[in-house]
């Protein structure tokens, strides 16, 4: 143990991942009443964690994977360990989580200023940071699962942060329950793995030799069960309706959890055991299909939404679907790269929307536009940058990652996938720029603001508005915008970095063919630009109808708006199966069987007593008689 402590890598890992836990404990126990102090503690912890993550990235970027582990418990033949596994994927994720958490917490200082539950907020942010960091460097599947659940818990707390609001607490509950449903599959997969493999270590799982021992059908089933966990956590079809509802939480929470990191945990898990998955082509096909359906479905839902946060939420689901598509088609690098860039620009989009919401106290994009949203220059510019990245326009990061995905899809023998991907790109560009244009060019012009003090707050040094609140919100946004612009150009170093971890595991994967790349590049860019042009036509230009091409078909509009009736389906099946079926059965069991049994015993006792009461005749002579008969019988027995 001593030599471990002297090892700076180990020290940095432990420090970085457990400091947020101590910050949470300190805030919850000690500094609950002092929001300022709580925020400082949390910020200190997360900045240290981010620094440790960057240090680890720099130190280990050319080294082989490092693993620390210690025995946690044994049960029969099973040895479960606890430890950290640092290879390129986990280092990358650690950096993403650390840096974005740090930026979001800085942003929260401004956003959550004056909120009475501020300390609680920072405590749960620290909880999330701790859980997510441990999740990404977990060395075995059980540890990953434990922290996976903790991440879900943090999400529940943060979504239901405004718990006095009914819809918020319901949304928190819904998120947690839907995650749990997916996790049932995950747990079953773990059990399968335990039975047939006997070991839950991730490096060993990924090692090709191990999977050669398992029958193909079993690998497919386990892989699909793990994918259930991905469906729950990363909001794939059909468990996707919790994510739009999760927008009830504060905007920084949406930026951190439900765009960049937590929902990416599912995709991360997929890529973590990617070699294991890729042994079974059937599982990969199914994940590809699910990802495509998710992507298209949620893109349609985003087209008809007027709530800024809801649009980005659907967009997140859609992009997650795209990542899953990429991984399902065998593009390990494409999926992970898109995860990275998406984290950057989606957080950016959410944070900018947060600034608008903070200013205008409304989520509706039409009202924001009408009240002069475009006058806030920094958020507007950054949001446009983010939207351009999302639509895949050169030279932003989204362009490179989307091209990588489309290239992988094009290499797949079945061309419907790449067609779906292109359609998705069109939708994405359309709805993002619909939002931008509705804010930039509101219907009827800018009507002026109802409340005075917040007008013209672009510079942020208004008398009502302390300067620091605006700048704490603006700086992270600008940092992220800068990252979005730059991240695209690190594609090749990143590819080499990630390839190392895959090569050492000696598993084949589908590489993007260079020959197709040129054509796909053109097609992808055209699709994006076509989407932007369509939205300009509908919303941007002067005198446009601002109805949108879907709006002309009210039935279709209703279908998209009602989330393809998924929520209604869930509600109805819940009511019939769970409430109507199981609950009714349990109640009947309780009433008839349990109560009935006990009451039956009582009635039996009473009935027997009533029948036998004739023995108590009150007649002395009968008593004597019986006594004598008994005595006589005894005597005769003794004599004989």
């Amino acid at each position: 143990m001593g030599e471990f402590l002297k090892d700076p890598v180990f020290l940095a890992t432990v420090l970085g991942t457990t400091l947020p836990f101590f910050s949470m404990a300190a805030i919850l126990i000690l500094t609950r009443s002092n929001p300022g102090l709580s925020s400082k503690i949390s910020l200190a912890a997360i900045s240290t964690s981010a620094a440790c993550a960057l240090y680890l990235l720099v130190k280990l970027h050319s080294a082989p994977p490092v693993q620390f582990r210690t025995l946690w418990f044994t049960s029969g033949n099973l040895n479960v360990t606890f430890g950290y596994y640092l290879d390129s994927l986990s280092l990358l994720m650690l950096t993403i989580v650390g840096v974005i958490s740090c930026l979001v917490q800085v942003y929260s200082v401004g956003y959550m200023a004056g909120d009475p539950g501020c300390s609680r907020y920072y405590a749960f942010q620290s909880l999330f940071a701790w859980a997510m960091m441990n999740n990404v460097i977990a060395g075995n599947m059980l540890q990953l699962f434990v922290f996976w659940e903790l991440v879900g818990l943090a999400s529940y707390f943060l979504i239901g942060f405004y718990y006095e609001k009914w819809s918020a607490s319901q949304a928190g509950k819904k998120a947690f329950v839907m995650n749990r449903v997916g996790d049932v599959g995950f747990l079953l997969g773990l059990i399968f793995l335990l039975i047939y493999f006997g070991n839950l270590e991730i490096p060993e799982l990924n090692h090709a030799a191990a999977t050669h021992g398992m029958p193909r059908g079993l690998i497919t089933v386990s892989a699909l069960l793990f994918f259930c966990g991905v469906i729950g956590k990363s909001a794939q079809f059909p468990l996707l309706t919790w994510l739009p509802d999760a927008m009830e939480g504060p905007t920084p929470v949406s930026a951190l959890l439900h765009s960049a990191t937590m929902v990416a945990a599912g995709v991360y898990m997929f890529s973590r055991i990617f070699p294991f998955f890729s042994v079974s082509p059937d599982a990969m096909e199914i994940t590809l299909a699910v990802g495509t359906v998710t992507m298209l479905l949620s893109a349609t839902m985003a087209i008809v939404s007027y709530d800024v946060k809801a649009v980005w939420a659907y967009s997140t689901i859609s992009q997650l679907g795209m990542m899953v598509m990429a991984l399902g088609a065998g593009g390990y690098f494409a999926g992970v790269y898109h995860l990275t860039t998406h984290a950057g620009f989606k957080a950016l989009l959410f944070l900018c929307s947060g600034i608008f919401i903070h200013e205008f106290h409304t989520n509706d994009m039409r009202i924001i536009g009408r009240q002069g949203g475009r006058r806030l220059k920094i958020p507007m510019v950054c949001m446009t940058i983010g939207a351009l990245a999302l639509s895949g326009v050169f030279p932003f990061s989204g362009f490179f990652s989307k091209e990588a995905i489309l290239a992988v899809l094009a290499a797949h023998p079945n061309k419907t996938w790449v067609a779906a991907g292109l359609l998705g790109t069109v939708f994405t560009a359309y709805y993002s720029f619909r939002l931008i244009f509705l804010i930039l060019f509101p219907e009827g012009g800018i009507a002026g603001k109802a409340h005075g003090p917040h007008a013209d707050s672009a510079q942020g040094n208004e008398d009502e508005h302390p300067g620091y609140i605006f700048w704490t919100m603006a700086i992270p946004v600008m940092v992220l915008a800068g990252a979005t612009m730059v991240l695209g150009f690190v594609e090749n170093p990143l590819r080499r970095f990630l390839d190392r971890s895959i090569q050492t595991l000696a598993v084949q994967y589908v590489a993007g063919h260079e020959g197709m790349a040129g054509r796909i590049l053109i097609l992808g860019s055209c699709a994006g630009l076509f989407g932007i042009a369509l939205s300009w036509f509908e919303f941007g230009r002067k005198g446009a109808g601002r109805i949108g091409f879907v709006g002309r078909f009210p039935a279709v509009w209703k279908l998209f708006d009602r989330r393809w009736f998924l929520d209604d389906f869930f509600r109805k099946s819940l009511d019939t199966v769970v409430y109507g079926g199981l609950s009714r059965l349990s109640v009947k069991n309780d009433n008839r069987v349990i109560d009935g049994g006990i009451d039956g015993i009582c009635h039996l006792t009473e009935g027997v007593g009533r029948r036998l009461s004739f023995l108590q005749s009150g007649m002395l002579q009968y008593n004597l008689l019986v006594m004598l008969l008994g005595a006589g019988a005894a005597i005769i027995l003794l004599l004989v």
Binding site: L629, G632, A633, I636
Partner: protein, 174 residues
């Protein structure tokens, strides 16, 4: 001697017969006065049996206490409770049958025990005739069995007081 023996045997059988007859009269008829008279007869018969068992004193005591006092008291009780006017409802057959069964069982059991056991006289038994005298009884009562003697006096006292009180209470009630 033979005639004396024969007479003794006859007297013995007569006494036994009287006793059993008296007991039957005490139990079976419905008329309560018949029962009392039967009881008196039976008790007298038993006094006779005590004579045959060699205890003159106890025979006399039996006549004095039982026939002289108890039977008279019972007659007084009959007088005060006037059961003669009441009609007697029919007896339940199962009750009678079960009662008869119980008694027969008991009788059989007792007789079996009596006949089957090997009764051996205790070793300390001597042929000292002075032990049979009333004087001996008196001595023992006042020396060895003094406590029992006093206690039974107390019992009798308490019984009489209790009888008076019980009979008196119910008189006060309306």
């Amino acid at each position: 001697m033979q005639t004396l023996d024969f007479l003794t045997q006859t007297a013995f059988c007569a006494v036994i017969g009287l006793t059993v007859l008296g007991a039957m009269i005490a139990v079976f008829p419905h008329n309560i006065l018949y029962n009392v008279l039967g009881l008196a007869l039976a008790l007298s018969g038993i006094a006779g049996l005590y004579l045959f068992l060699g205890s003159f004193f106890i025979a006399l005591m039996q006549l004095l206490i039982y026939v002289g006092a108890i039977c008279i008291a019972i007659v007084f009780g009959i007088m005060l409770s006037r059961p003669l006017h009441q009609e007697v409802p029919k007896r339940a057959v199962p009750k009678v049958a079960l009662g008869a069964t119980a008694c027969t069982m008991f009788f059989v059991a007792a007789v079996t025990v009596a006949l089957k056991t090997d009764w051996r006289p205790s070793p300390g038994r001597g042929e000292d005739l002075s032990l049979w005298s009333v004087q001996r009884i008196g001595e023992l009562l006042l020396t060895r069995y003094e406590l029992v003697y006093e206690v039974i006096s107390l019992v009798l006292l308490v019984a009489i007081i209790g009888a008076v009180v019980t009979a008196g209470f119910s008189r006060r009630l309306p």
